[in-house]
Amino acid sequence: MKLHSPAFSKALRGLLREARRASPALRRAMRRQRRRRTLAHQVPVAVWRLFFPLGAALLMLRVARAGLPLEADAAIVSIWFLWVSIVGSTVVRTQAARLPPALLNLPFAPADFTRLSRRRVLGLLWRPCADALMLFVVLAGLQAGGPLVWAAVPLLAGVCGVAVWAATVWLARFPPPRALQSMMAMLPLALIMGLQSHGVRVWLGRVLAEDACTLMLLSPGGWLAAAYLAGLGVLASPWILGAVPAVVLAASATYALATLLRHADAERELLTRWLGMRTEDAGFCDDEGESLSAAPVPPPAPDLAAVWQASLVAGASPGWIERVFLGWLGDRERLVLACITARVPSWTRLTRRSAQFLTFGVVLAWIGRWVPLGWHGLLVWVYGMALVIGLAIGLPLASGFDQLTGRASIYGLQVARVAMYPMRPIEFVRLTVKAALLRAGFMLPVVAVAGAALAVPWHVSPWALALGGAKLVFLSAAAAPCLCILALSAVSNDTQARFWRGGCLAGALIGGVLALLGLAAATLFAPAAWGCVAVVCFAAVAWGVAWTYVRAYDRGVFDLVRHAQG
């Protein structure tokens, strides 16, 4: 179903072309008004999406090069489609239930919503099909068989795509637990990080080699891959039966879609009714006469004086870091803080949680000394992730000032709130730096102790690890001005600044960020003396980047209003 009228669009385009040809003035005006399309518009989504399964394909090639059997590759296909089904189910659910707000005001029948949803969900079918085609091509290539081996690939890819799509639709209707969805969403990141460790690579290789047959059962992609390998004689012939449940699942696709759409319709009806009630309850009325004749609302006598005297920044039960932070701020800083956050972020809780994760990681690292060698890779993976998560939530990498980048979108333009009121970006930078220093101060002993405690299982000097931890904390705090500026940059139009100054600013920012990355690496890996020099340079460059940006902001080098999609 099309939302527009193709015949009308075509006719209108023709008429416009004629009018343009007839009038040079109109031609000039059209040229003047032509909007440049961004790269995202120029390159179809399909092209971007095709890059996704490349990771899995590369992993399959790497596994084959490592000398693992073909079953290991089939297991990767299975895991990939499990991930696609679970993560994709959220997309399918959204597409089925989304109610385009513009249509609410138009004469659009409920049945048309259903047709529109069906079309949108069906529009996602090509994705698993394309994935399947790519992965089965790799599988066939690894087998290096004759034409028959290749001939089966398109058919298998088609069945696999439809089966996976059906599984995704079923999962959209009956969603798995949120924890499982979150874990699956994190899987690629965990995999990429885990593969950096030799122990994890060895463990993963062992699991893929020994438990490939179990892993192949995880998703329809795995069932079909197993059937394919059985057909080629790589696996025992009973595995060919794996195609049966996949075909059955593919056959259930229509029914799955109908079930999902029925459910989405019911939800949408509830939503529409709720929206209607809400509008009536709030007394929103465009009828001026009715507004005038309405009885005056008795004032509930709000205690404005109390609002005036109360602290502008609320905090349910601020922890000690938050209390120290608020005590450190002057009146003006508290006011600026109120503009960028409704309440001080719970840094104390984050620090405590970070300490818990780090402790868990350290304890697992110590336990690792008594764990059998075969399980060591898994242990390294788990405690590695615990340490990374602990550092990520504890270090002051994000300020938590949720409204720092507050903006309003209107008619395709975004305007930063910062632009509207008498405030300066340097005030935000100062606040962010103060918060970062304070958090870093509290994190420093935690990270240093965790680093020293890891020294024994890692067989390195406790002093070196404690120092490494301290460097990490320092770097995260020193990066604060630059991170604050990058956040502000997201709500300004600095990338399209006028004249050559725009190019200079962009060059300075990109150069600054690259220099920071290089200096961070030097800080962590260079010998102690050079590391100290790099630390000082890092702080200086971070401040330099912030200073350059603030100066350009103050002098009006760029606009504070930007196109929402650009």
Partner: protein
């Protein structure tokens, strides 16, 4: 300056202000001087440059060429004292959505350093006039468009800056009582020496509610005149603006 004006008034000057957005000329060498105590209506067809002019006056958008001068000094974003002398009420106000109406007023008044002891009493009065008292405790994000606009208008009135800048306030979804209160307050403000500049498409309103008219066409300032002078030079004194716009449309670019 007419007698009775407050000493804290602002002289505004636009000197050859130009601004392009890629190939589109939004403002083209706009020059004018706005004396304190004036009520200025900025008119123009869609895309004529009205909003860009207001944004240039506030520093949200910078001119490619030319200068915006307040009391003879160029506007800089880091000059907070200068920025506190104007308040821009855009087409869609930027407020703190998760805070209440009262909290929003509190924050804005403090930013403008107008949170003196009398501020709460003044706020009560303005909220009552704008029929916002009952909503004073409601988060702004839950209000209708008109109510959000009224909240921002309340903030503007309480701040009472030297320069009021409003983008299409008369088509903002505010109810008739709020609009009439705004018109009254704007007249009183100009009597105190404040300058009020607003953009609008409503010609009949502009004819009645302005001392000075600025007409923009394709970025150029085509008319910058008092209403009496405009009427005097028009063939149709009853509808001088309509006649002007008809002429503009017929004039080739």
């Amino acid at each position: 300056m007419s007698p009775g004006l407050e000493t804290d008034v602002m002289q505004i000057e636009l000197r050859q202000v130009s601004r392009r957005f890629r190939k589109m000329r939004a403002l083209d060498q706009v020059s004018c001087e706005i004396a304190p105590g004036q009520l200025v209506a900025v008119l123009g067809l869609n895309g004529a440059g009205k909003t860009t002019l207001l944004r240039c006056l506030t520093g949200v958008v910078g001119p490619d060429r030319g200068q915006v001068l307040f009391d003879g000094r160029p506007l800089r974003r880091d000059n907070l004292a200068m920025r506190r002398r104007f308040f821009f009420l855009p087409d869609f106000p930027l407020l703190f959505w998760d805070r209440s109406v009262a909290h929003n007023l509190s924050i804005i008044l403090r930013l403008y350093e107008k949170d003196d002891a009398g501020a709460p009493a003044r706020a009560m009065e303005v909220l009552r006039e704008l029929d916002l008292l009952a909503l004073a405790g409601a988060p702004v994000g839950t209000l209708s468009r008109g109510q959000i606009h009224k909240t921002a208008l309340a903030a503007l009135m309480l701040v009472d800056p030297d320069l009021w800048l409003l983008d299409e306030p008369l088509s903002s979804g505010m109810d008739p009582l709020a609009l009439s209160f705004f018109r009254r307050a704007a007249r009183e403000a100009t009597a105190r020496g404040r300058t009020v500049i607003y953009s609008t498409q409503l010609l009949d309103v502009a004819e009645r509610f302005a001392d000075h008219i600025a007409v923009l066409h394709e970025g150029r300032l085509c008319a910058w005149t008092g209403l009496d002078a405009l009427r005097a030079g028009s063939k149709d004194p009853a509808n001088p603006l309509e006649e002007l716009f008809r002429k503009l449309r017929e004039t080739p670019a």
